[in-house]
């Protein structure tokens, strides 16, 4: 048997970015900060995103089948922190961050340095505590060309182990 703390320590050596996922469900728009993300295919371009099964973003993405994944910039820790917990959503903003709804019918925040519009093609991970969405990238935008992305290691936060 592994020593649980060692497993945790090693899993925390994995490298992650920080992203804000946003989707629109029956109860309105939802947004949450996620980090368990990786590309999983070149052609078609697919991402895998893991979301805690009891979270409202997970339920919203499961229902809407589409979401926007926003890349948090290296100097945007506040943007990531704003979506750690459920945030009040209005018709034009969530937690004070303005968004528009693009052709993919998911919120796109003005603040993100870059974003990917995603459509869920598979859901996996029945045995785990996170749902694993495999999503096709159907659009993207980059607001600040050349901007660097925030990495989880460069923040005080940990999500792993």
């Amino acid at each position: 048997m592994p020593i649980p703390d060692t497993t945790k320590d090693v899993l925390r050596l994995f490298s992650y970015g920080l992203y804000v996922a946003a989707a629109i469900g029956a109860d309105g728009p939802r947004a949450a900060t996620v980090s368990w993300v990786t590309q999983v295919s070149f052609d078609p371009r697919l991402l895998a995103v893991a979301m805690r099964k009891d979270s409202s973003i997970c339920e919203t993405v499961r229902a809407s089948r589409r979401f926007t994944l926003h890349v948090v910039g290296a100097d945007q820790t506040d943007f990531a922190r704003a979506f750690f917990r459920f945030s009040q959503a209005g018709p034009e903003d969530i937690a004070g961050y303005h968004y528009t709804v693009g052709p993919t019918r998911a919120p796109v925040f003005d603040h993100a340095i870059a974003w990917l519009a995603c459509e869920v093609v598979e859901e996996a991970n029945a045995s785990g505590d996170h749902a694993l969405f495999i999503a096709q990238i159907v659009g993207s935008g980059q607001r600040v060309p050349g901007a660097a992305a925030l990495t989880l290691r460069d923040t005080p936060w940990r999500y792993g182990g």
Binding site: P2, T6, V10, S15, T38, S41, T100, L132, G141, Q142
Partner: protein
Amino acid sequence: MAVESMTDVRDDALRLLSNGLYVLTTVLDGMIHAAAVSWITQASFQPPLVLIALRTNSRLAQAVQKSRRFALNILGADQEALAEHFLTHLTLPADALDLAGHDYRLTQGRCPLVTEALGWLECRVAAEPPTPGDHALILAEVTGAGIRRPGQPLVLWRTRWSYGGLRD
């Protein structure tokens, strides 16, 4: 803001995803297989699961799908030169003395561990989720782990290499 569908734009956004760089090892039919991999994320706390994407029908994907066990060696920030030795798939007899000049030992599950690495995970394949993509998905439960020394891990975008966006 309009949705951009230009290839270069989409690529730029995809290349902002942060990934590490790891050496995956497994043993199948008396042969050691080892190669650098990058598309990895944890996928569950309880049970501890990791997701790995491996090019469909690659020798590495086939070896993992058959052996059902593998190790992930986490490299240190100063081990780019070591990583370079595993950028192409390495196949060696299971009694090889070293892996591309690097010492190794076997886990209880007979997965080779590069002894210079910062740490390692031993994993058992739990599921192969379906995907329409060009990489096979491996969802694996962590069955063992070790850390050898403190240090910062190797991060893909700090190396000369990239693996993301459009195939390069």
